[in-house]
Symmetry: none
Subunit: 238 residues, 4 copies
DNA sequence: GATGAATGAGACTTCATTCAT
DNA sequence: TATGAATGAAGTCTCATTCAT
């Protein structure tokens, strides 16, 4: 062995290729899987292709994830459900008004999740839930329920503090969720229903801001902000 | 075979029952295919199941449709693109104001298409377009382009008649289309993102009416109707 | 079309190749499967090989049997469990003495089952039961229980008629079964434990006859038949 | 590495713990392999499971055994064929009568091998020999031939000393072997063919003793021992 | 020596499509 | 025209074996 090797490489460097990969594999596979699931859907994504995109062989994928369904669940956990604890903590720590909290939450959601590739999972579940009941149940339990719960807590906080008028929670939750879901679908449907050029006319941040305003107008006992007066627009009926 | 049979019955009589069935076959197959495509998606729908639901054998399906993709195209033609001529004719024959025309068109669309099973195809294309490029191209050409064209003509009529302010057509078309797409997705996504109870809170006809009002408010040079004054709400930014 | 064809072939001949095959397929597949299961065991038998030996393609096998496990169950039903009704009927119809009945039953069993390829299934289950619990349960229910029941009824008949001394049924059933199982294992184990030359020294019919004699000696209140006095030769013939 | 370490500890001291483990490895692996092979068979036993049960990694297994087949061979050598030299030595040293020798040999065989887990290998080979020809040849050469040879020598001794009547050796060897094989199969087939309760009715030691008696009755020129007169009970105890 | 990550051949099963009848 | 038996490519998952560290 040439001396240079003994000198130039520290132990960590020596182990780099082999050991570091081990730690990196799951992440690489999850990233590749997210890409492909969002691009093609769950059923149409081939395990081998995920592996290839992550730069490993078919067998390696199953070394880390017991099945394609488990891979999908891991993708959901990594990108979505794993974040609820952080969000719930954010809820507990927030000290401003509830309208501000809602505005802040949706803005943050868009920045962290909605605008990311991970939001394609919402659209995906819409189509594949029927064909993969176990995944549907998992998603319901790990994503939908916590999301509803979080929104419910926000609304309840507003009601408790006298900022919002009492509201049927199921209705209220859905009102908040609807524009988020719509936006996600839109972002991941360029190909099918509308040209990119057209879709890009919608500025998500503006759309969300407008929706929040609308929602608050429906919820608040008083106009929340003088800067954007409450209006009687069509959508509150959502 | 006794001679009498050959004499007493004309060919059409002999084959009457058979031919009536024969003529009915494609229709039965298309109906079964629509059901299953909407329920499970294109890829997950099995040719044999379509045939079984139509009461024929697998071979018969391929007698009438060269492939599963051709079957899908026929479903689209039968339920969607085949209707554009009628709609275009309706456009030519309409004599009222353009705001009324738009209102009428969207109401009619909902009654005839949007509220029917066929609207599930829109959602389906959203998910599967990526995986079936030929179907995507077909759908783009047979559905999306004619739809855009029709909407464009309506808007242009309004502009030409001085009812609407001049408008960027791409933007305008999309503004009209967005609530229709949203509604279709909502109708076919009960399972995945929201309970039926919640979704059912949205009355499609009311939602559409409100959206039309909103859209017109954005388009018209003057408030179209005293009954519903123009507003500056969130959605026009769509 | 030459006239000869219209004359020389009846309809049944015309359909021969296609339709007759359809009826024959399951049988051909079951025969091929029995061969291979007995030869190699359940796990080591490949579905494609069964199909190939039956002269069809992989897919055809799954047209008739939903899975390899179902194929195995069908083999068991076809060759073993399906015969219990016949045997039970034979029991009901038999009018001689119970010792004669037992002698007859075991002789018949050897002629019909024990000496056939199907007896390899008994040996197979011995090894694979541990690895395929569902098959083990099926076999227990479809083969072992009915077999025990039939033997139990024979013994009970002897006891009821005063021919046999009262006996612990579990013990008695096993006494009858043991030589049958041993014989089956021996017949299908040429390769592993003993040369063919040696195994062939055991004449199954003689062995069985001696075993029956021994069993009856233990069961009967009196020596059963003067024609064949009880001897201690049973085992030396091994 | 500090110099002190290299000086203060001899190599054997440095590696003591390591080497003791190292020496133990093959034994632990062989024990784990025997367990699993007997429990599940050769093909169904996974290399990784053997390693895990032995408390080492998969790679280590292949460090000691070039392949799963070699592992199996080592298990056979360790547990079966390795003992023939001892048995042959016992044969040479034995000074009593040949009937006593045979009785002693089979009793000892049961105590040392037949009643141990290792006897499961006999049953295993019965099922898998067909699928692993190389293992079958190995087993034939390492186990079956020496066993036959040993039995043959015992019988020949009896003939040479005038204790046994002249006998066809192939037949005689098999007569001795048969009950041993039967017993091994029975011990390892609880699950498939008979309840434990029933199987447990057979006391192996008694069964073997009776069989020896029966065999000797067939072999000896005279009744071998007044202490245990030949009886016809051998089999009823089944 | 020891590890365990990585591989890839191979097994079961599905399903669109063909074609003889 | 109608049938449904037959096909085989393709997809998921397993596991003995290798090899860099």
């Amino acid at each position: 062995m040439p001396l240079s090797k003994l000198i130039c490489k520290t132990k960590s460097e020596v182990h780099a290729k082999h050991e570091r990969r081990k730690d990196a594999r799951p992440g690489e596979l999850l990233a590749a899987a997210l890409d492909l699931f969002v691009e093609k859907g769950f059923a149409a994504t081939k395990a081998e292709e995920v592996a290839r995109r992550a730069g490993v062989s078919k067998g390696t994928l199953f070394l880390y994830f017991a099945s394609k369904e488990e891979l999908f669940k891991a993708v959901v956990r990594e990108n979505i459900s794993g974040r609820f604890s952080e969000w719930n903590a954010g809820f507990d720590a927030f000290e401003g008004s509830t309208p501000d909290m809602l505005r802040h939450a949706m803005t943050l959601w868009w920045a962290r999740l909605g605008s990311s590739k991970a939001s394609g999972i919402t659209k995906l579940m819409l189509s594949e839930a029927e064909n993969f009941p176990e995944l549907a149940a998992f998603y319901q339990h790990e994503v939908i329920q916590p999301a509803h719960e979080l929104i419910r807590r926000i609304l309840q906080r507003g009601v408790d503090r006298g900022e919002f008028a009492p509201v049927d929670m199921k209705y209220g939750v859905y009102t908040v969720l609807a524009p988020m879901i719509f936006l996600q679908i839109l972002m991941h449907s360029k190909a099918a229903c509308c040209d990119n050029t057209e879709a890009s006319q919608l500025v998500p941040e503006d759309y969300l801001a407008a929706q929040v305003q609308t929602i608050l107008a429906g919820l608040c006992v008083r106009p929340p902000l003088p800067s954007s007066p409450p209006t009687d627009e069509g959508l509150p009926s959502l």
